[in-house]
Symmetry: C2
Subunit: 306 residues, 2 copies
């Protein structure tokens, strides 16, 4: 019997080749588990059984956090969202103190890099075990300096659902950050095959939603606007930090419905995510756009403050 | 450093406790890989790295096959569907001969049981590796004799999408059997919390689609009907065998659109899947139903023929 025969040859796409990812496994990912400290493990070795529901059913949740200068950004907002996702999937509540500690251990164990991404994953665990699986992996963020400076090309894509789907059909899990991301990946492949960089989903009744892994923010006059979470979209953590910054500078920031026409009318349009923080949209559905370069530079500098 | 610290204590829900699942790993799951024979591995040991896209993104495909009396049913239909799912996800084409061999090895290695389930999983593999992961696990099927004899209670649920979503928005991957099944699991939890056994999804414009892990077949007069695949639903393998049987008995069988009213009007309504084969619906949205018991018994006997 050959113990493990899937061959692992290369490093993760996002990793700098000479730095190995740091992995911490949580023996106690949920409050149902007897407390036990997160344990370091080998990120290049097999971790999950083939009957873990995380892989057989995409049945689990995740968060991606950027640690800038060794400080995890919006950690509590990410943990709160992990908790909300767990509730929507009827998973046991995450043991937030254990997740916090695993993040801290992983940051401390990783060699210093300007931006360190932390991926938190909690699955429903091995089928029939009644115990969740959980781990945190830390690896250097990709270099997004070009996208942050020059902007990205975005295409709108139909998400297929009406704007009220979250309330009418909660079993569709809109608004939860689940491991079932195959369609988000397919949407990115689709727009990249058309020469664009990213997508923004629109509801079947014309409401702007979110990107496959991002939040959309439009600046219309002196007002920063992002679509409200009751459209079945994720509460953006980078978008929330952008809002705080804007409000501290005397600008207004609001959760409000947006149409694609509103996006075209915006002075500046951003795609926000933990990895990229905030990148300006330089074309939308093939229509070139400008943005307020000074404002963007100031906002980005704030977001990248440790 | 603790090598592997997720604790595994119990067996899979579907497994008979005293029979261990049989696992075969495919070193060559896709036609892009240099050919190599499937290799037996320990099903209770970790297999997947934490950065396998199968778990981090639910980015992969699967099939579940029932081997009755040691004979995998509809093997070629399942492999053809695996191939179609791979194409929809732009995965490399599965090396079907390797998958066929892994299935045969797993059946041969497992102690004889009346019904053996085979789960085939192919993921996009470790991020950045460019190589898919693939494996086959074999374990005894659950005992569905009660459901097959007494029927199940089914509730209709809105799938949120219109009937034409597969053609208007192919990035939503409707019609592919992906690992991103969190919403299917949530739909089952939803109906079970309401005291039912299973769900049938309906499009936002009133077309009957499929169950979270099943195909719906209605017998209306002498005609067996199931919804067409262009609604963005899976081609059912058990349903196809039921259709063949009906046609050989001189009845007609057709792919045609159905409304929930049509389901209520049906003489007999079945939920078909590899695990359950065909179970009659004994109530739909709380309305009790009857079924043709002789016909069902004959159909089920045929489906369970090796």
């Amino acid at each position: 019997m050959h113990a493990q025969s899937i061959e692992y040859e290369t490093v993760a796409e996002n990793a700098t080749p000479d730095v190995s990812p740091v992995l911490y496994v949580l023996p106690s990912p949920s409050v149902d588990d007897p407390p036990a400290e997160p344990v370091r493990a080998d990120a290049s070795a097999p971790l999950l059984r083939p009957d873990d529901l995380g892989v057989t059913r995409g049945d689990g949740i995740f968060e991606t956090i950027n640690a800038v200068g060794g400080r995890p950004q919006a950690l509590e907002a990410h943990l709160a969202r992990l908790q909300r996702s767990a509730a929507m999937l009827e998973l046991p509540a995450p043991a937030l103190d254990m997740w916090r500690r695993a993040v801290q251990h992983a940051v401390a164990a990783h060699p210093p890099v300007p931006e360190l991404l932390l991926k938190l994953v909690m699955t429903r665990g091995v089928e029939g075990s009644g115990r969740c699986s959980g781990w945190v992996v830390a690896f250097p963020n990709s270099d997004f300096s070009r996208e942050r400076a020059e902007g990205i090309a975005v295409l709108t894509l139909d998400r297929g659902y009406p704007a009220d789907v979250m309330t009418t059909a909660p079993w569709l899990l809109q608004g939860a950050k689940t491991l079932s991301y195959a369609l988000n990946m397919a949407a990115l492949r689709h727009v990249r095959a058309l020469g664009a960089d990213d997508a923004v989903f629109v509801s079947s009744d014309g409401q702007v939603l979110e990107g496959p892994n991002s939040t959309i923010v439009a600046k219309l006059g002196h007002r920063f606007v992002t679509p409200p979470n009751d459209l079945g979209i994720l509460a953006g953590t980078s978008q929330a930090r952008l809002f705080e910054w804007a409000q501290r500078r005397g600008m207004s920031a609001a959760y409000d419905r947006l149409t694609v026409d509103d996006l075209h009318r915006a002075d500046t349009l951003w795609v926000c995510s933990s990895g990229r923080q905030a990148v300006p949209v330089r074309s939308l559905d093939g229509v070139p756009r400008t943005w307020d370069a000074d404002l963007h530079a100031a906002a980005l500098a704030h977001l990248l403050t440790a």
